[in-house]
């Protein structure tokens, strides 16, 4: 167990209180909406802000512990940080930026430059080592920032929104590149992002925080199939409802019951994808169990399909093809019948 921490930081109107752990070689993503406290957590781990309560242990060393007054300054922590906008020193070349860390640790100049050259080669920027940060593209600057953080041989690597500043195309390349380097990093890595795709592609485990608290943890599969908050459900594109289950019958709202594929007892979440909701202009024939009348609130594009927000006994999102939308004259304000395929609705304990 390489990193173990309980981070408590109090600010006016906001309290961060989370427990984190990461093993050697593990990549953990801190995922959450803006203002959830992700960056605060990262800054606390780096030592750029002091904890108000809790503790930070890194490879058996206590770095911060307000209870005993122990606090290790950031320059003595051996934690590498890749900042959101990289913060490459503008007056130094790429090589000097990467050599900065080793130089601060009293590595002789020639050796520091050799290490920096080596790292720039590893991130594929050997021919750019003399360039100033402003002469580098966004993707190149990101790689220099990564090389600079790794060149200090850190015991913990922290990345703050490492891909947020990049355009969509550079992002794909850089993500794949980053993934390789994170896999090669022997210590634990903590990654902060608000992008679920980045988190799932780069991390072994996700920790989702909202309002300074952890709301859900797990690997990508658990998070994508079993969201536990509206925020997570939206991130992974599922409808989520809370209810009370009796077998496969779940009461989700006043007297409104859904039938699910799974059987549970007691308080549960029910999740289903928008594609599991079919739309009919009239009450469907036969007697499908999960059906209800609904009013279309909004219609928006979602990939190749159209996404409908439906107001009814429960609020759900449904996906329909553009052809169906035209045929059924689906417009905001129209009243339709929604039918949920029971075999695509799963329930799990709340």
């Amino acid at each position: 167990m390489s990193l173990a921490a309980r981070l408590v930081v109090r600010r006016a109107g906001f309290t961060l209180d989370i427990e984190l752990a990461a093993a050697d070689g593990e990549v953990v993503a801190l995922l959450g909406p803006n203002g959830a406290g992700k960056t605060t957590a990262l800054r606390a781990m780096a030592g750029l802000i002091a904890l108000d309560d809790g503790w930070i242990d890194l490879t058996g060393r206590r770095l911060d512990d307000p209870a005993t007054g122990a606090f290790t300054a950031p320059e003595h922590r051996r934690i590498g940080v890749v900042f959101q906008d990289y913060l490459l020193f503008p007056h130094l070349s790429a090589l000097e930026n990467v050599a900065f860390g080793p130089r601060c640790r009293h590595v002789p100049r020639a050796e520091a430059r050799r290490r920096a050259t080596d790292w720039l080669e590893r991130v594929g920027l050997a021919e750019h080592q003399r360039k100033r940060p402003r002469e580098l593209s966004g993707g190149q600057a990101q790689r220099v920032a990564l090389a600079r953080a790794l060149a200090t041989d850190p015991q913990l690597l922290l990345l703050d929104e490492p891909l947020a500043a990049l355009d969509a195309r550079t992002r794909l390349d850089t993500r794949a590149h980053l993934r390789r380097h994170l896999a090669a990093h022997p210590g634990p890595t903590m990654l902060v992002t608000h992008d679920p795709l980045d988190a799932m592609m780069l991390a072994d485990r996700l920790v989702i925080i909202e309002d300074g608290r952890i709301v859900q943890t797990g690997d990508a599969a658990a998070i994508t199939t079993r969201p536990r908050t509206d925020y997570v459900a939206r991130l992974v594109g599922l409808n989520l409802h809370r209810g009370h289950s009796d077998g496969t019958s779940v009461t989700v709202a006043d007297g409104f019951t859904l039938t699910t594929a799974t059987a549970q007892q007691g308080p549960v979440f029910v999740a289903f994808p928008p594609s599991a909701v079919a739309i009919f202009p009239e009450p469907p024939a036969g007697s499908p169990r999960n059906r209800w009348p609904a009013v279309i609130e909004t219609v928006s594009r979602q990939g190749d399909n159209l996404r409908l927000e439906l107001r009814g006994p429960i609020t759900v999102a449904a996906d329909v093809t553009p052809a169906a939308a035209v045929q059924l004259e689906l417009e905001p304000g129209a009243t339709v019948w929604a039918v949920l395929k029971a075999n695509e609705a799963i329930s799990y304990p709340a």
């Binding site: 030592g47 750029l48 320059e75 601060c104 953080a149």
Partner: protein, 237 residues
């Protein structure tokens, strides 16, 4: 313009080579430069403290830094005499411990000029520091740089144009310093008589001499400012 119009052009070469003129000029340039160095050594850290730290009484310190800007320089000179004079608070101690007396010496000129000119440097550098992104210092810290290393290798280079601009302003102000200098250091040719003092003295005896001295001071300061502006502070001043 007025100076140029009234200048005694015919006798200019002779007057320029009078020994008193060159002495005063040399002394002016020397003391202004030394005063700028003193201001850099004391003023840059002070600016950093004002821009980057918070402590009780910071507002008071900031106000005190700007006092020499609004204080009549003569009053500043009197204050310096009270502190560094032979019977002054620090002067007595300096005299007893090291045998150093500042008033009416060349070193006294430097002190007086630095006292009056340093606020220009401090305010300019503090402004540049506030404009510079403090997160670069945080990035340096995560790379293992202590505060001093981060300041020297990251912050200072980032605000170098601001420091240069502040130093130029400071030097220019020191070069023209009159009131505090004459009060604290007196008016001894070759020792404490800088150009502005020489101009003032000449004005009472020989108007043409005063005009010549003024022209020299004007020419030197304009030349230096233009040269520095080209080399160091283009786009800042």
């Amino acid at each position: 313009m007025g100076l140029l119009y009234r200048a005694p052009w015919a006798s200019l070469p002779r007057r320029l080579t009078e020994p008193g003129v060159l002495d005063a000029l040399r002394l002016s340039l020397l003391t202004a430069t030394l005063a700028t160095l003193v201001s850099l050594v004391l003023g840059v850290p002070l600016a950093w403290i004002l821009a980057r730290t918070t402590f009780p009484g910071r507002r008071l310190i900031r106000a005190l830094v700007t006092v020499p800007l609004v204080l009549p320089p003569v009053v500043g000179g009197v204050a310096l005499l009270l502190v560094f004079g032979r019977d002054g608070l620090l002067g007595r101690w300096l005299d007893a411990a090291f045998g150093i007396t500042l008033p009416f010496t060349t070193a006294g000129v430097v002190v007086a000029e630095a006292f009056v000119a340093m606020p220009f440097l401090v305010i300019t550098v503090a402004g540049a520091l506030r404009g510079a992104d403090a997160r670069y210092e945080e990035a340096a810290a995560t790379l293992g740089a202590g505060r001093w290393t981060a300041f020297r290798r990251v912050t200072l280079p980032l605000v170098a144009p601001g420091v240069a601009a502040g130093a130029v302003l400071c030097w220019a102000r020191a070069l023209g310093e009159f009131g505090a200098t004459i009060t604290f250091a007196g008016n001894f040719p070759g020792r404490t008589q800088t150009m502005p003092l020489a101009v003032y003295l000449a004005l009472e005896q020989d108007l043409d001499a005063a005009i010549v001295l003024s022209l020299v001071l004007l020419a030197v300061s304009v030349t230096v400012l233009v040269a520095l502006r080209e080399r160091w502070v283009s786009g800042v001043l």
